[in-house]
């Protein structure tokens, strides 16, 4: 019984140490998501600026030549 208690204590210890690493991994994943969203926003802004600054007419199509922009 004592052996089982010791084992459970050890298991708890491992799991709770893991919890700290999991939290760190979660924070990293959240930071990566924030960075990806920021990069997307910047790219979108850049694209908008380019489109707004050109004086020629502009349309965008997909591979099937269907109009995708302006929509």
């Amino acid at each position: 019984m004592q052996g089982q208690d010791d084992e459970e204590e050890l298991l708890r210890s491992v799991a709770l140490q893991n919890a700290k690493s999991i939290l760190a991994a979660r924070q990293r994943a959240e930071q990566e998501l924030v960075a990806a969203k920021e990069a997307l926003r910047e790219w979108s802004e850049k694209l908008t600026n380019i489109l707004e600054s050109i004086t020629d007419g502009f349309i965008a199509t997909d591979k099937e030549w269907r109009l995708t922009s302006p929509t």
């Binding site: 459970e8 491992v14 799991a15 140490q17 690493s21 999991i22 991994a25 994943a29």
Partner: protein
């Protein structure tokens, strides 16, 4: 739209195979004909039950549903944690001795063999990252941090699921039988929450369409007709369980003392995009349920779970550990047949045909 019904995964291995493995080990080339015969027989008998979705019965998962992917790795030892069962025995897990952590085999290797032998949809069970996270030892492995381990673990789990999805698995079911065990070990709930966080980190790597094909299985463990955590109240697990970003939940229910109470908790916490596969047969109960008993369980479940979100399953695999002979293959398939027939009977009553 009929009520979907799926197995959990394992079917008891033929005695001849179990005896041969005990003699020569699980990977001896001489076992190939026995493995092939076991898989072929499992699929034929699965099809005969009328089950619309089948598995390979985990005939090649050695030694169990938990460690199949790492069994035989040279950088593991047999001194992992012992999980105590109510029958008085324990099952010992593996421990990582050095990095890096890599799977030795992915479950899609089982899936593709099964898919070649049937026209029916095949599902594949895989082990959760949270279960394998317990392989890292209490003290730091020199040159391989716990953080590196967690990253590698998530990568390997993602790879395994992707391979199964790409090969056409009907569903990929993540076995999360340590949910209730986590509460038993740490009643504060912190451990369970960290398990949920880890598994969600893995699920976040998949699209919504992929997550619709991913499920999570929870039960109180099943081995030698006993459990490891049936004494833990579902009320402590289910609210956290439904925070997992999976589309399907396979929940042991038939063996519960008060299934209505559990169904009420499910109703309270389940989310609109989640399908609940309620356990309607009990693998650790030696008695074979009748289709009518199953029917009544399904009808009862439908009072609490919207029919469009309801499915049925077995409470657990029939032999998650490969040497478990407490249930016969005949009994397992008889129970599956009752699940299939009983679910169809209930569908007629509920009007879900």
């Amino acid at each position: 739209m009929p009520i979907p019904t799926e197995p959990i995964g394992s079917i008891p291995r033929p005695l001849r195979l179990i005896e041969a493995v005990a003699k020569v080990g699980s990977e001896a080339p001489s076992l190939e004909p026995l493995y092939e015969e076991a898989i072929r027989d499992t699929i034929v008998r699965f099809e005969a039950t009328g089950s619309p979705v089948i598995s390979d019965g985990e005939q090649r998962k050695y030694h169990n549903f938990w460690t199949y992917c790492v069994h035989g790795l040279p950088n593991t030892t047999a001194e992992g944690f012992a999980i105590p069962f109510s029958a008085g025995h324990t099952r010992r897990m593996l421990r990582l001795a050095s990095g890096p952590f890599r799977y030795r085999r992915y479950a899609d290797s089982y899936l593709e063999v099964a898919m070649r032998q049937t026209q029916l949809p095949v599902k594949q069970a895989v082990i959760s990252p949270s279960a394998l996270s317990l392989m890292y030892p209490p003290t730091r492995i020199p040159g391989y941090s716990r953080e590196e381990f967690i990253d590698d673990l998530l990568g390997e789990h993602e790879t395994e699921i992707r391979r199964c999805l790409q090969k056409g698995a009907h569903k990929v079911q993540v076995d999360f039988t340590e949910g209730r065990l986590a509460i038993k070990i740490d009643p504060s709930g912190d451990l369970l929450n960290s398990f949920i966080a880890l598994n969600n980190l893995a699920l976040a790597r998949f699209s919504a369409a992929e997550r619709a094909r991913i499920g999570v299985h929870t039960c109180p463990g099943g081995d030698l007709d006993s459990t490891h955590s049936a004494d833990i109240d579902y009320a402590e697990l289910l609210p956290s369980l439904f925070e997992l970003h999976a589309g399907n939940f396979y929940i042991a229910l038939a063996g519960e003392r008060d299934p209505v109470r559990v169904l009420k908790i499910i109703r309270q916490y389940m989310k609109p995009n989640q399908r609940i596969f309620a356990g309607v047969t009990g693998p650790i109960d030696p008695r074979v349920e009748t289709p009518e008993e199953v029917r009544d369980r399904v009808v009862q479940a439908a009072k609490y779970i919207p029919v469009e979100q309801l499915g049925t399953t077995d409470d657990c695999g029939f032999s998650p550990f490969s040497d478990d002979t407490s249930t016969s293959r005949d009994t397992a398939f008889a129970k599956i047949r009752s699940r299939v027939l009983g679910t169809a009977l209930a569908a007629r009553i509920i009007g879900a045909e």
